[in-house]
Amino acid sequence: MSKSLVPHAPVSTAEVEPHRPTDWRSIAMERRIRRRYAAERRFRLLGLGAVVVSAGFLAFLLVVMIAQGHLGFVETRVALPLDLRQARLGLTAERLRGPGADLALAGAGLERAVDAAANRAYPMQGGAALLSDGAWLRVRDRIKRDPHLLSRPFMLTLPVASAIDVAAKGNGTPAAERSVAALGPRLSRGIAWSFFSGADSTDATRAGIWGGLKGSLLTMLVTLALAFPIGVLSAIYLEEYAPRNRATDFLEVSINNLAAVPSIVFGLLGLAVFIGTLHLPRSAPIVGGLTLALMTMPVIVIASRNAIRAVAPSIRDAALAVGASPIQVVSHHVLPLAAPGILTGTIIGMARALGETAPLLMIGMRAFIAAPPGSLTDPATALPVQIFLWSDQVSRGFVEKTSAAILVLLVFLLAMNGVAILLRNRFETRW
């Protein structure tokens, strides 16, 4: 009989006792199991609660912004009877049709005439103070379109001053509220188109987002023009051609770290280098664009690298075997397949740049700019910076303008992210 291969294990004293099977039916066990199931339910509810609370925060934020901001798109107007025949403006219909029309309108004293009409029509509610400072501009535009109005009386609804506007929307001082009550049906509401076409102003009824929007658009243009080519080209080099050595590792690590640097540090860099050393104009879109490009480039590099890496290696082998050069492999095969991923990453990076405020504050885009920028080197502001500047305003009318501007910004970002997600879903290739 051969020796057994299994070593002889010593028997422990614990095994001497007879082993009792677990009684799953005992009262104690049943109670324990019930408790465990209850804990399970509580835990699950906790998880669901966390998701609900997080989504709830988002919903709450949106609701607050919409509640505060929807009236920012609306302006209160008052009906004003006007008769410009008595105003001695020195304007005729023929002059208004000719080339010197704007100059004639500017020098005609129209503002005085409108104020006088307001004083006549609403002496008890403040007269000219009832109207917004920009009200006469509406009259001017109307007359320019229809010169016949110079020769007969007409009625026009004009925007009211900020205090009255705020009171009409329910938040004014007692005195303003009394005026609103007195004006009653002569007040009406309309869409505040000037919010979209106007630039910054100290008067809440005239403040518009166009200045900030145009500044943002110009800045984004510069950012895209710089960050996209450099980002994509770097990604191609790192993924396809860079040799695997210490220098390349260092490059990769640098880029990954750059993506995590706080945005305000990029602002400091922009301040020190672009404004301090290169003496570029402060608060110009070109400086803002350069600074944001520094910040966005690493994001685009990382997204592009992931997209390129996702292309199957067998495609590259097939192209090489047919005699394509390494550059042809990338440009004919890899890039077309990686393009949707690269575009998605770029759009998301640009959306992030659009919402950035801190770096732009650092390079000086925090001044009051009354006119939209005309070129890349004019002083400008950006939409998020505009929101920040308005949030500091004391006047109550700016609360709704700030929230309305936030809504516009959110719509843009939603659109950009939506396009990115659409791209990703439509072109997601499955290998």
Binding site: F43, A50, M65, N257, P262, I264, V265, L361, S403, L413
Partner: protein, 458 residues
């Protein structure tokens, strides 16, 4: 000629070069029957690139260098002898003259500027002419030389590809240049700062009041400890107290309990939280959350509840950070092998017990990495604290009190037209350097933690 016209001209020359070179290459291909390494279009591109690239490179350098040359020429003219010596005034007069010469301004505040304008215009015209001539010469020279090289045996494609490769490498080096730029600019300015303020005073001092800087002892009012504390308190304590439980539990629910359809809708929703601009969060914090917190504080009997409390800023920051924690935790939990979960369930454990005792410990390195990255993000956050927290530096444990952070102080210090060399401005750079180093360390540690985790499973 204007720069736009010049660029068009060079582009047109490049186009002509392309067409001509391609035609020539086509001609000699037709006569021979062997295989060539480069197609006619490659020869076209080669000659076009040799025409355009040297000229454009020169123009780029010229654009950066010529303003200084023009200024030097003007300073050398006799009219300039009466100018004050180098400084703010002289620079202002020169820039006025430049604007007049360029036709962008009419009439000057100083008669001197008016007098210099013609000299400026003359110098500008002269240097423009030089630049244009050299650029065009380079274009023609490059085109001609490369055209002569177009021969049957010439491997144009290889040359083109080498140029493209160089371009790719250059693009990657820009990334290095940026990193170097950040570090260098921060270091240089901070070095200047630390010459004025001893580093010990800055890093260990507890009094921060930049509005009362004593020129003889600037360090006494620039002790940054309250700022570090405020940043830590708001970003790492309060914000994380909100973000970690909510983020982790959301991730657990989404990976373990939610149906695929729910997950498909909720996950993007959480990502939207990350996409909201921080200025919106800041406004929301200032408008809604801060007053609510103050009222809550008053209701709880805390008399000193501020309307710029740390709690308000921290709460909103926490909400903003939820997606960071949630997505890292989600990835880590999803990466735990299904076999582990199955093994635990097969023993009769409930889902909750499996998650708490098996999955989360297994996913812990990834979760911790996510938390560290989230802290790094919170610490660097600016707009929420600028709009919702105060600028007064205090060392307090009371969340209802107001305190300030490093990022808010950076913004405040650089407001106004303070000169680049004052202690206030340079302090901002020193703070920036500290922020950069801290976030860098947090990221490195986070990545190390995550990497060690990845090795355990593969």
């Amino acid at each position: 000629m204007s720069s736009l016209t010049l660029l068009f001209l060079i582009a047109a020359l490049g186009l002509v070069a392309w067409v001509v070179a391609r035609a020539r290459a086509r001609r000699f291909r037709r006569s021979a029957r062997q295989r060539f390494s480069s197609l006619p279009q490659h020869h076209g591109w080669y000659v076009a690139l040799c025409t355009v690239v040297p000229a454009l490179t020169f123009l780029l350098i010229w654009y950066l260098v010529s303003p200084a040359l023009v200024t030097d020429a003007v300073l050398a003219s006799p009219r300039a002898a009466t100018l004050p010596t180098a400084g703010f005034e002289r620079a202002a007069i020169l820039s006025e003259a430049r604007e007049i010469a360029a036709g962008r301004a009419f009439g000057a505040f100083t008669p001197l500027a008016d007098g210099l304008a013609p000299a400026y215009a003359a110098a500008q015209t002269r240097f423009d002419a030089i630049g244009t001539t050299v650029a065009l010469l380079l274009a023609f020279a490059g085109g001609a030389w490369s055209f002569l090289r177009v021969r049957p045996g010439f491997s144009a494609r290889t040359h083109n590809e080498r140029l493209v490769m160089a371009l790719l490498l250059a693009a990657s080096l820009v990334a290095i240049a940026i990193s170097a730029g950040i570090v260098l600019s921060l270091l240089v300015e901070s070095a200047r700062f630390f010459r004025m303020v001893p580093i010990g005073d800055f890093l260990l001092g507890t009094r921060w009041n930049p509005s009362v800087i004593d020129p003889d002892d600037p360090g006494a009012a620039l002790g940054a400890v309250p700022l570090f504390w405020g940043t830590f308190f708001i970003g790492a304590v309060i914000a994380m107290a909100v973000a970690v439980p909510l983020g982790l539990m959301s991730a657990i629910y989404l990976t373990q309990y939610a149906t695929p359809r729910t997950r498909r809708w909720i996950k993007p929703l959480l990502e939207v939280l990350a996409g909201v601009p921080t200025v919106v969060y800041g406004y929301f914090a200032a408008l809604t959350v801060a007053p609510a917190v103050r009222q809550a504080g008053a209701a709880l009997g805390i008399a000193s509840a501020s309307s710029e409390s740390a709690l308000a800023a921290g709460l909103v920051m926490g909400i903003m950070i939820i997606p960071f924690v949630s997505s890292m935790a989600d990835d880590s939990l999803a990466a735990v092998p299904a076999a582990m979960r199955d093994g635990s369930l097969a023993m009769g454990a409930t889902s909750a017990e499996t998650i708490k005792r098996v999955l989360v410990p297994a996913a812990l390195p990834g979760v911790i990495g996510g938390v560290l990255l989230a802290v790094s993000r919170a610490v660097g956050e600016t707009m929420i604290v600028v709009m919702a927290a105060s600028g007064v530096a205090t060392l307090t444990l009371n969340p209802f009190a107001s305190t300030t952070t490093v990022t808010k102080q950076i913004v405040d210090l650089l407001t106004g037209e303070a000169a680049f060399t004052s202690a206030k401005t340079l302090a901002a750079f020193a703070l920036g350097l500290t922020l950069f180093v801290v976030t860098l360390l947090l990221n490195i540690v986070a990545l190390m933690v995550v990497r060690r985790y990845r090795e355990a499973y593969e």
